[in-house]
Symmetry: C2
Subunit: 155 residues, 2 copies
Amino acid sequence: MTASSPRTPPQALQQIDTSSLESLVGYNARRASMFVVDIIREHIASYDLRIVDLSILLLVAHNPGITSRQLSSVLDILPPNLVGMLNMIEKRGLIERKPHPVDGRAMGLHATDSGSELAAQTESEVGQLEIEATSHLTATERKTLIRLLQKIYRR
Amino acid sequence: MTASSPRTPPQALQQIDTSSLESLVGYNARRASMFVVDIIREHIASYDLRIVDLSILLLVAHNPGITSRQLSSVLDILPPNLVGMLNMIEKRGLIERKPHPVDGRAMGLHATDSGSELAAQTESEVGQLEIEATSHLTATERKTLIRLLQKIYRR
DNA sequence: TATTGTTATACTCTATAACTATA
DNA sequence: TATAGTTATAGAGTATAACAATA
């Protein structure tokens, strides 16, 4: 329903009652995720990476040999839509496809040295950005928040 | 990066290390919002409403006379993309555009009786669905969660 | 017979430019 | 000169169908 940052121009808007939305977990979680993710999106754009690219890069770096099918499942991206992304990331020399050791249909994905380096750097920077973006929270609150969020979607 | 429910088919996937994503507030907030919102999306599809349509309907019902520009700002939807949505909702007889009392350029949006009725019903049902979708949380935890999320995005 | 990866393609969502009527 | 609402259109993201190769 919504999107990124530099969108709606300023205006004098009087009080709008948004309580019917703000009482919902789904709405608040979405707003909060957008707030944080937009900051990260803007930062990693300097590496010519999108959120989805970074997610793929991190998962491949931490899971050498992961298959396209597994990425598809974890990130909830349809296999056909993953192909172009992987091609691009491979063409940039960040990952490479190697034959899967036991399954002849599958390809194992591996980060290159360059890809591992970029993954480590961005992971660190993103972690720092997250702390700053959630600076209104104490470390304890941040841990509590993540725990409660995971109680919702982890089954 | 992701989307709705009936997406990726099942598979036997061994252990994937997702800790680099699961330590991030943005990632967890996104996953949790998707978990809850997808349930709501599926339910309100029976009223032929999308999440964005319901958001508009609720805001109009609770803010008689709200302008398109204000909706655009609150929901972070670009004005051109709002036009078609409002046309559709108006065509269904749920809202109507009336001349703005003081600003000749603007139109005030008002829920019809039918629209108010649908807003009240869906708001109630969505509230119940949210409770069920977050049933792993106590009422206190749910309140805490919303408070922490709002500390992030409210400025 | 089912699954992995892929191509082609349709569909939906989001963004930009430009116009009008009014402030 | 700026803003509200609108049109037209471009671009990005997400979806389905179908195929070859392998399990």
